[in-house]
Each structure stands twice: as structure tokens, then as C-alpha cells.
Amino acid sequence: MKYAIKKIITMLFTLLLISFLVFLAFNVIPGDPATAKLGTQATPEKVEALRHQMGLDRPFFVRYFEWLGGAVTFQFGTSYSYNMSVIQLIGSKLPVTLMLAFLSFIMMTVIAIPVGIYAAKHEGSKIDRFITVVNQGIMAIPPFFSGILITLLFGLILRFFKPGGYVGFDKSFWGCLYYLLFPAFAIALPKAAMTIKLLRSSLLSEAKKDYVRTAYSRGNSTTAVLYNHVLKNSMISVTTFLAMTLTDMIAGSVIMEQVFSVPGIGRILITSISGRDYPVVMAIILLLAFLVILVNLISDIVCHILDPRIRQEV
């Protein structure tokens, strides 16, 4: 409990630091939002008036704390290019991205853990070698290219889904879920390959330790040793890795949303970056940073619960 509180306080400080850095970075870059909004032809008086109206003529720290205060209550201001509040813009897209990341995470775990355990259990067999080779191949494919290949195979040749035909959440929940299965698969596949590799080698290195021999000598079967002893011990490194994968998946969904034209956070982020719509970019970056830190926090706490050795050191 004490550990969790300490971690949460560290997390809040990190977030505060990130929010400051983000605000600072987007305020020192050249280019004035007021000029950008009015065009280069605008008179200096007009630009000055708009700057005043947008609150850009006030001191840096005043603006930072105002922005931070807004961020805490999810008020990130108004988007420059959409003329709607940032939270409205993001709020409707966030569930899509989170669902995509969640789906791919589930898919990855469902594929990777049984296959990894199987490969380790049958080390050196033909199937194990086949899994290793396929794994290596999958890891060399750039993620967006695997997305394109999946669109080509499942969308255009097998016609399981209509590329670009995303159905909204509100229209049909199952239709939406079905469409998201394909981008989720594209995100999950390379990550599953990495997890299989890690789980296999982690299981095998655990299996060489003394306690395994002891467990065998007490008359345990291979299955019992594997599930009760080895798996438990190798889960710690796998958990840390899974947490990293989840954060990678949130980033990966930015690309997959583009490939499968899913209207999520990633698409908004890309259009806002190209359109220099800074309030939206800042809000999304802060949001993603929050998600990344949250996932790392949860994984640290889970490791702490899983492994009594880490618990004692604190």
C-alpha cells in the first residue's frame, strides 16, 4: 500500500514535469497562432487584437497555470481549426482508440502465451523450430506494411471486411467491434511474435534453475512444475514486457488507424500536427503521456504483488 502511494506521488510529479515541458515546447516554437489564424495579410492591429482575445499577450507562467488548471478539469481550450472544444473533439474518438488497443492486447495475449508455453515445453522439436522461424519473419515486417497486407488478404481477396468501411460505435456496436478486429490483429501480430520469443527464453532459463530440480525430485509432473513453479517466476519479466507492449500498442494504433481509416485519436493527432492545431496536439500528447505513465505504474504495482523479492527491498 505504502509502495503504491509512493509510486502514485512520483507519477503525479512526472506528469507535472511533462505538462510543463509540453507547454514550454509549444510556446517557444516560431509561428504565432494569431498570425496563423488571420493569414500573413492581416494588419498588425488585427493580429494584436486577436492575440489579446486569445490571451497570448499575458505572461508565460500565467498562461501555463491557466492551461494546467484547465487540463485537470479536462478543459483544454478550443481547437484552432475545428472551432469546437478540444475535449469534445477528443472525447468522441478516445473510446475507439482505447478499444483498439485493448482488443489488440487481448488478441496478443491469447496468441502469445499458449504458443510461448508450447514452444518452451517442446524445445527443439520441429514445431518449436517452425514457430521460431515464423516469429523471426513476422518481426522483420514493418507494422504498417503488415496492416496493408492484412487489408489486401482479408479485405480485398477474401472479402471478410470492407476496407475503409468503418461503422460507428453508435450505429452498430458489433459491427464496429468486427471491423476493429482486423487492425487489432495487425497491431497484435508483431507484438505477439516478440512476446512468444521472450516467454520462451524466459521459461527456458528458469527451467535450468535449482528449484526446478528440487520440484522434480519431490515427484511433481512436468506440467505441475511448469505451471506452479516456472511460469510464476517467469511472469515477472513478461509482465514488465507486456506493459511496455501496451504502451507501444497505443502508439502503434496511431499508424493502424491511418491504414484502416479508423477515426480515433491517432487520426486527429496527425491532422492536428499537419494543421498546426496546437491546443489539440498538446492535449493529445498529455493524454497519451498520462496513459503511458499509468500503464507503467500498474505494471510496477503488479510486479510488486507478483514478486515478494521486490516487495522486501522497499
Binding site: Y3, K6, K7, T10, T14, L17, I18, V22, A25, F26, I29, V133, Q136, M139, A140, I141, P142, P143, F144, F145, I148, L149, T151, L152, L156, P163, M194, K197, L198, S237, T240, F241, M244, T247, D248, I250, A251, G252, V254, I255, Q258, V259, L269, I270, S272, I273, S274, V281, I285, L288, A289, V292, I293, N296, D300, C303, I310, E313, V314
Partner: protein
């Protein structure tokens, strides 16, 4: 105490990530892996250098009659929706890819070495502060970091190099730091100090050459990751900008013609996979 613990978890993460970077092992023998990888990479490098001076067609020239034409001897990889020769575009795209990859490794590597060396060699408070910042950066997926820097710097070839270079500093600096921590108490470092060598000299003249193998291997892996990241950014339309050809940008425009002209997407994609495979094999062999 909580801090040391956090440090440990993060180190464990780093090891995972390092061990699971793009490294492939197809052949059992390390030497074979290396030579096959070197062969593939050298082949692509040669094509890129030749492509710098001569390509079968002008990569940007449009031929209306050749629109959507399939793979043939006149157009090796076929033509795209504007009638541009895909092979010539792939070759000039490879040039951009190599340039961005090398630039990224150079920036990320140089700054990473300096930060890692100072943190690892001196330790103490400098190390604590430097590594805390690097750890915080390291927790973020590098694509996300690159996106942040691209949104700050704008898009284009040089901006992408700077953005990716900065995004790659943390991973380089942690590897270098670990090596310096290992080396700083070794006998040859102590005797160099006894002979009156300055810290600067010990760091760059005595220790640096000794950690070259690690540096080379991580530079190769970094190059691969940079190639992938550049392709990703260009695919999203915020990386390398036209008229510069880039494999990622080609894949992104090929998407709309996936059904009618599948080779438009497949050719650049497969070229990229083979190149990554080659570089990965080389990385495996170098160790």
C-alpha cells in the same frame, strides 16, 4: 529505497527491450549470419549509390500512357497512378532512407555517447539526474516521441532526422552508460589515471575504443529502427515530403490502389523487408 527499486525495474525493462530489438538469427553460425547480412546491405547500398547518379527513368517523370502498367522488363516494378516508374522511385527512396537512417544514428549516437559516458563514468548526482530524465523519455514509445518533435519542428527530411535523432538519444545513452560503469573501475582505467591522464582523455581516448563492439552493434540496430520509424512517419504524411521519394510515402499512396495495382504497395514493402532483414542479420553477426 523506492528509487533504487524503480531503477531496477527500469533496468529490467531496458534489458528486455535491448534483447528484443530487431535482431534475427536465421543461420546457426554467426559468421554466416553476418556475411549474408553484409551481402544484402552492400547490395542495397550499391543500388542506392548507383541510383544517386542514374535511375532507369526520372523518379518524378510522369508518363500518362504507362499509368498503372504492370511489372515488365520496361518497367521492372510497374508504374503508379501518375505513370511514374516504381523501380526508379524505390531506388531514390532507398537513398532517402539511408540518409535519414545514418543521420539519425549519428545524432542519437553522438549525443547519447556524451550523455551516457558522463553519467556512467562520474556516477553520483550527475548520473542520478541524467538517467532519471533518460528513463522518463525511455518509457515513451519512440514513435510517439518522434511525433512530438515533428510537430515542434515541422515535417521534411532534415526535421525528421533531428526528431528521430533526439528520440533515439535515451536508448544509446543507457547502453553507453552501462558500458562506462563496467569499465570505470578496470585496471587499465586506473593506471591511465595514475599516469596523469585527464578525465576527458580517459573517457574518450582510453575507454571509448574499448566499447566499440557494443557501439557498432547498437548503431546497426538503431539504424534499422530509424528506417522503420522514418517509414512510419512518412507513411503518416508528416515525414519526408514530396518531391523527395520515400518508401513509407510510397506505401501510403499505394494504399488507395491496393486492389487494382497491388505491386505498387508490394514492391516497396518487400524491398524494405529484405533490407531490414539484411541489416538485422548483420547486427546478429557483429556480436
Amino acid at each position: 529505497m523506492a528509487n533504487t527499486n524503480m531503477g531496477k525495474t527500469i533496468t529490467a525493462k531496458a534489458q528486455n527491450k535491448k534483447a528484443f530489438g530487431l535482431k534475427l538469427k536465421i543461420f546457426k553460425d554467426k559468421k554466416t549470419n553476418f556475411y549474408v547480412g553484409l551481402g544484402i546491405t552492400a547490395f542495397f547500398l550499391l543500388i542506392t549509390i548507383v541510383g544517386y547518379f542514374w535511375t532507369p527513368y526520372n523518379p518524378n517523370a510522369m508518363d500518362v500512357d504507362a499509368k498503372y502498367s504492370a511489372m515488365s522488363f520496361t518497367h521492372l516494378f510497374g508504374c503508379d497512378n501518375f505513370g511514374r516508374d516504381i523501380f526508379s522511385r524505390v531506388v531514390s527512396g532507398l537513398g532517402t532512407t539511408f540518409f535519414v537512417g545514418l543521420g539519425t544514428v549519428l545524432i542519437g549516437g553522438l549525443v547519447g555517447i556524451i550523455i551516457g559516458a558522463i553519467c556512467g563514468y562520474f556516477g553520483g548526482l550527475v548520473d542520478e539526474i541524467g538517467m532519471r530524465i533518460m528513463d522518463a523519455l525511455y518509457a515513451f514509445p519512440s514513435l510517439l516521441l518522434a511525433l512530438v518533435f515533428v510537430s515542434l519542428l515541422g515535417s521534411g527530411k532534415y526535421q525528421v532526422i533531428i526528431a528521430l535523432g533526439i528520440a533515439f538519444i535515451p536508448s544509446f545513452s543507457r547502453i553507453v552508460r552501462a558500458e562506462y560503469m563496467r569499465c570505470r573501475d578496470l585496471d587499465y582505467v586506473k593506471s591511465a589515471r595514475l599516469f596523469g591522464a585527464s578525465h576527458f582523455r580517459v573517457i574518450f581516448v582510453h575507454i571509448l575504443p574499448n566499447i566499440t563492439p557494443v557501439l557498432v552493434s547498437s548503431a546497426i540496430i538503431g539504424f534499422n529502427n530509424a528506417v522503420l520509424a522514418e517509414a512510419g512517419l512518412s507513411f503518416l504524411g508528416i515525414g519526408v515530403q514530396p518531391p523527395d521519394a520515400s518508401l513509407g510515402e510510397m506505401l501510403s499512396s499505394a494504399q488507395s490502389f491496393l486492389f487494382s495495382t497491388p505491386w505498387y504497395a508490394l514492391c516497396p514493402g518487400i524491398v524494405m523487408i529484405i533490407m531490414i532483414l539484411g541489416v538485422s542479420l548483420m547486427a546478429e553477426g557483429v556480436e
